[in-house]
């Protein structure tokens, strides 16, 4: 597919990496020749230098032959203008714009109509939603849902006190007393596809498939006490903070926001009347202590600096905060971060990229495309949900007799209202949906791609 990406920033280059590897023809537009040169030397793409909202530049980038335009330049207004202009030049074009100014969020549906957008993405809002979901089930580092929220892949960290430490996967069901499947283990920064004899060690991060209604049982049996989050400290008063505070207030959770910039504090106090806005430096331990970090239920660090977020999170963990969430802008160094106890890591950029990649896949492959795609294990594995339709091969055959590609695992079969964690005798039929996990080496476009 012919895709134009306007704006070669952090988001643009993450998208480039993903979409180029999936075999799309990409053209990048940016006004900075330096970043373009770097992208051209790293990926198999074409680059055009200029203002992405200008007709001449868009034509030069081949907007007439393009199928999709993704506008992720710095300013919302530029993105909107870019999509509108491009759509005027090529009415067949699908357009995705990043719009992240909170003042536009309430009018986003109307704007989609007006600016001819196929989709509007807001990474910060998405991140806030994700954080709120995590705060609802403290204990999991990450939750990805499938089958309209009935099945999840959750991430857990095994520490020395964990009941699962030094337990082989075969003996695991006796401890958790519910049907779950470990579909990937991240050990020392590398994803491993485990078998039954695999023994979990301290420091592993495991990815577990489980029906959503068993999550509470799972948490209880693992000895991770769940109590409702009542008070949250947010470090940094950026856009994510605003969205998150707004959502948390709705569920009646007390929110404290620590922000360094006085003016921003005033603004936040005006738009978030029920929150407690504190003007101060979140990296100061004294301030955090005086604001009661020791007995808060959750800490979310989302200042603009990744390093600062990490340090505050580490401090929070050492103070015994039950739930810590760290926001990171760059996910390049995740393999070394795995060893730090930073709690859950959320990258707005990556969440948003996943959404866009999902859209592209659906566009490319109208029938048989994955219904849901989540990257897990720091991007080293992918979980996808597919519908079993007439074209699917091997319907009704037990899984143990099927030859699947190396690194592919069927982790859940959903039939009607039932979710089955499959064993060797499980089968899938037409109309079911299945969730598979792959190590990402082979590109899986549709369900039949998983067979040898």
């Amino acid at each position: 597919m012919n895709i134009i990406i306007a704006g070669d920033g952090k988001m643009g280059s993450t998208l480039t990496r993903q979409l180029s590897a999936e075999g799309n023809d990409l053209t990048l537009i940016d006004s900075n020749p330096k970043v373009l040169e770097a992208s051209e030397e790293r990926y198999d793409v074409m680059v055009v230098q200029g203002n992405c909202a200008s007709m001449e530049v868009l034509l030069q980038a081949g907007v007439k032959e393009a199928d999709l335009l993704i506008a992720v330049a710095g300013a919302d207004e530029v993105n909107l203008l870019c999509c509108m202009t491009a759509h005027g030049l090529n009415p067949r074009l699908h357009t995705i714009a990043r719009v992240r100014n909170p003042e536009y969020t309430d009018q986003i549906y109307e704007m989609r109509e007006m600016f001819a957008l196929s989709m509007a993405v807001n990474p910060e809002k998405q991140a806030a939603t994700e954080m709120e979901r995590l705060l609802r089930y403290p204990g999991f580092l990450k939750r990805d849902t499938f089958a309209k929220g009935r099945v999840e892949i959750v991430e857990l960290r095994i520490d020395e006190r964990s009941k699962l430490c030094n337990v082989a996967l075969n003996d695991m069901n006796g401890i958790v007393k519910c049907k779950i499947l470990v579909c990937a283990v991240l050990r020392n920064g590398r994803a491993v596809a485990p078998d039954g004899n695999f023994v979990l060690r301290e420091g592993d991060r495991i990815f577990v498939t489980a029906p959503t209604d068993t999550l509470t049982i799972l948490l209880k049996n693992l000895g991770i006490i769940t109590h409702k989050v009542k008070r949250v400290i947010l470090c940094g008063g950026g856009r994510v903070s605003y969205y998150l505070a707004k959502q948390l207030q709705k569920s009646g959770i007390d929110v404290q926001i620590i922000e360094r910039d006085a003016e921003r504090c005033n603004h936040l106090a005006a738009i978030l009347p029920d929150s407690c806005i504190i003007h101060g430096d979140a990296s100061s331990q004294f301030l955090l202590e005086s604001e009661g970090i020791a007995d808060c239920d959750a800490l979310v660090t989302m200042t603009g600096l990744d390093e600062l977020n990490m340090i505050i999170s580490l401090y929070g963990m050492s103070c015994g905060v039950p739930q810590v969430i760290t926001k990171l802008g760059r996910m390049d160094n995740t393999n070394i971060l795995g060893n730090l106890s930073l709690g859950s890591i959320i990258s707005p950029k990556e969440l948003c990229c996943n959404t866009i990649v999902r859209y592209v896949r659906a566009m490319k492959n109208q029938t048989g495309a994955a219904l849901t795609v989540h990257t897990i294990a720091d991007g080293q594995a992918e979980a996808m949900e597919f519908l079993v339709d007439d074209a699917t091969k091997h319907c009704g055959e037990p899984l143990k007799s099927l030859k699947l590609k190396k690194g592919v695992l069927v982790v859940c079969i959903i039939r009607g209202a039932n979710q089955e964690i499959p064993g060797g005798d499980s089968v899938f039929h037409r109309g079911d949906t299945v969730v598979i996990v792959t190590n990402g080496e082979k590109s899986i476009g549709q369900l039949n791609d998983i067979f040898e």
Binding site: N2, R17, S20, A21, D25, L26, T27, P33, S39, E40, E41, R42, Y43, D44, V45, M46
Partner: protein, 484 residues
């Protein structure tokens, strides 16, 4: 340096080379040329063994490839390809000495067309075909061919850009379409189409199929190996004119043809490099015709010879219809000047390249203006687009390297004791991938008399000229071979 990846690439290139020897083998079989058949079979076996070893030994390489690997890969591939590609000449007995055969094939792959043979008419047809085909393959580049046929998958595969940059001539190489594979395919498709067109026109002039194909290969790669002793001089005026036109066509930047294909006539018409190229051709023809009054019987004949020689030298082909060594000095000086300027960037021709010369003149202009207004801020533009300082800096570096290599080679070749004109024009003709120079190495002469050292120097010049210096120069730098 990622040796494994490098080895894999060279292995792949050699497989391609072995595959391309098959047609030559078939021609030899068909003509029952027993020594040539033997030569080809043995060489193919040798290439397959080396390629197999490289592919086998370099399995499971890391896919980390940066600018220096790209450059070194191109340089090494070309040298490996030449060493193995000259085996048919040696083993068939057509050119018994290895250094001579090596010179001949490097001259072929680099589309130089400088020969050590005094007579080619007695050679087996398969050998003649392989000799001409090497021009065709070298013209557009064997790595570009590899990029077109193989799919290199993976996330960070922008390194293909380094390969294209290293092998395609010009100061500012870019892609035509987002995908490298498609860009390379488009380039080769245009190349093949133009070659077929050339063959058809030559056949219409009454040439035999074999000669038409070989001549078209020589023209397409802007190489200059002919199948007759007197190059193109023995053919009819029609064929000579066809050659003139096609030589000029192959000297044009191929992205111009792509722009024509997607109907962007305006940008082709306004292309500054193309204008300069055509302007230089026309101007030179006019000057030479004026200078040649009285040399030929009719004005028509004068124009024909002048146009042919100008096209042949400017596009760095090196065909000849007449011995221009007998022309007056002014005409010879013009030809020498055209040798250095060369064809357009992104064409199959060699030389310094019109585009590069144009940018150099413009940046010189800027420096002159800077003297008048020292604080003036100026941007060099080409086709209305601002050109980055990095590109201009590279051109200056290129010029420095160019001059230095010419001087060193000239000194080395002079050891043989031939005349200054012979030595200088031999270096210029080899370095710019033209072929014939002046005096002893003129259109009716050859390079056979040079010593082994001179031949080696000229071989290096040809390779450096075709690959635009840096891919060869980098092989001599110690830091290239260090582990990261």
């Amino acid at each position: 340096m990622n040796y494994k990846m490098l080895g894999r690439f060279v292995g792949k290139i050699l497989w391609v080379e072995a595959a391309f020897m098959i047609p030559a083998l078939l021609i030899s079989l068909w003509g029952r040329e027993i020594p040539a058949v033997k030569g080809f079979l043995l060489s193919m076996a040798a290439i397959v063994v080396v390629a197999g070893l490289l592919t086998g030994l370099c399995k499971g390489s890391e896919k980390k490839f940066y600018a220096r690997e790209g450059l070194a890969c191109v340089g090494i591939s070309w040298i490996a390809m030449s060493i193995l590609g000259c085996l048919p000449f040696c083993l068939s007995g057509a050119i018994p000495r290895f250094i001579d055969a090596f010179f001949e094939i490097v001259s072929g792959f680099t589309t130089t067309g400088a020969s050590i043979l005094s007579a080619v008419e007695g050679l087996p047809k398969g050998i003649l075909y392989w000799r001409s085909f090497s021009h065709w393959l070298g013209g557009m580049g064997v790595l570009v061919f590899l990029l077109a046929i193989s799919s290199i998958n993976g996330g960070d595969n922008g390194f293909t850009m380094h390969l294209l940059r290293a092998e395609s001539p010009g100061p500012n190489v870019g892609k035509l379409v987002p995908r490298m594979k498609k860009t390379a395919s488009i380039l080769y498709l245009l190349y093949i189409l133009l070659t077929i067109l050339n063959v058809i026109f030559l056949l219409a002039g009454g040439m035999s199929l074999f000669e038409a194909v070989c001549t078209a290969f020589g023209t397409a790669g802007t190489g200059g190996f002919g199948v007759r002793n007197d190059s193109i001089a023995g053919y009819s005026p029609y064929i000579q004119n066809v050659c003139t036109v096609f030589m000029l066509l192959f000297g044009v930047n191929f992205s111009c043809y792509y722009l024509l294909l997607i109907k962007q006539f305006k940008s082709v018409f306004r292309d500054e490099e193309l204008r300069m190229y055509l302007g230089l051709v026309l101007g030179s023809i006019v000057l030479i015709v004026l200078n040649l009054r009285g040399y030929y019987e009719t004005l028509g004949e004068t124009i024909r010879h002048a146009a042919f020689q100008v096209a042949s030298i400017m596009t760095t082909t090196g065909f000849a219809t007449t011995d221009f060594d007998l022309w007056p000095s002014f005409s010879k000086a013009i030809l020498l000047f055209l040798m250095v300027v060369g064809a357009c960037a992104g064409s199959t021709g060699g030389g310094f390249k019109c585009g590069r010369a144009l940018l150099m003149v413009k940046s010189l202009q800027r420096s002159v203006r800077q003297v008048v207004h020292p604080q003036k801020v100026q941007v060099v533009r080409s086709n209305g687009q601002p050109i980055g300082e990095k590109v201009l800096r590279n051109i200056n570096a290129y010029l420095a390297a160019y001059v230095m290599i010419v001087i060193v080679s000239f000194l080395a070749v002079s050891l043989d004791g031939f005349s200054v004109t012979t030595n200088f024009s031999a270096v210029i003709a080899c370095f710019n991938n033209i072929g014939p120079g002046l005096e002893m190495v003129g259109p009716v002469g050859n390079y056979g008399a040079f010593s082994t050292l001179s031949k080696l120097v000229l071989i290096m010049d040809m390779l450096a000229g075709r690959l635009e210096i840096f891919p060869i120069l980098i092989l001599f730098s110690r830091t290239t071979w260090k582990h990261r």
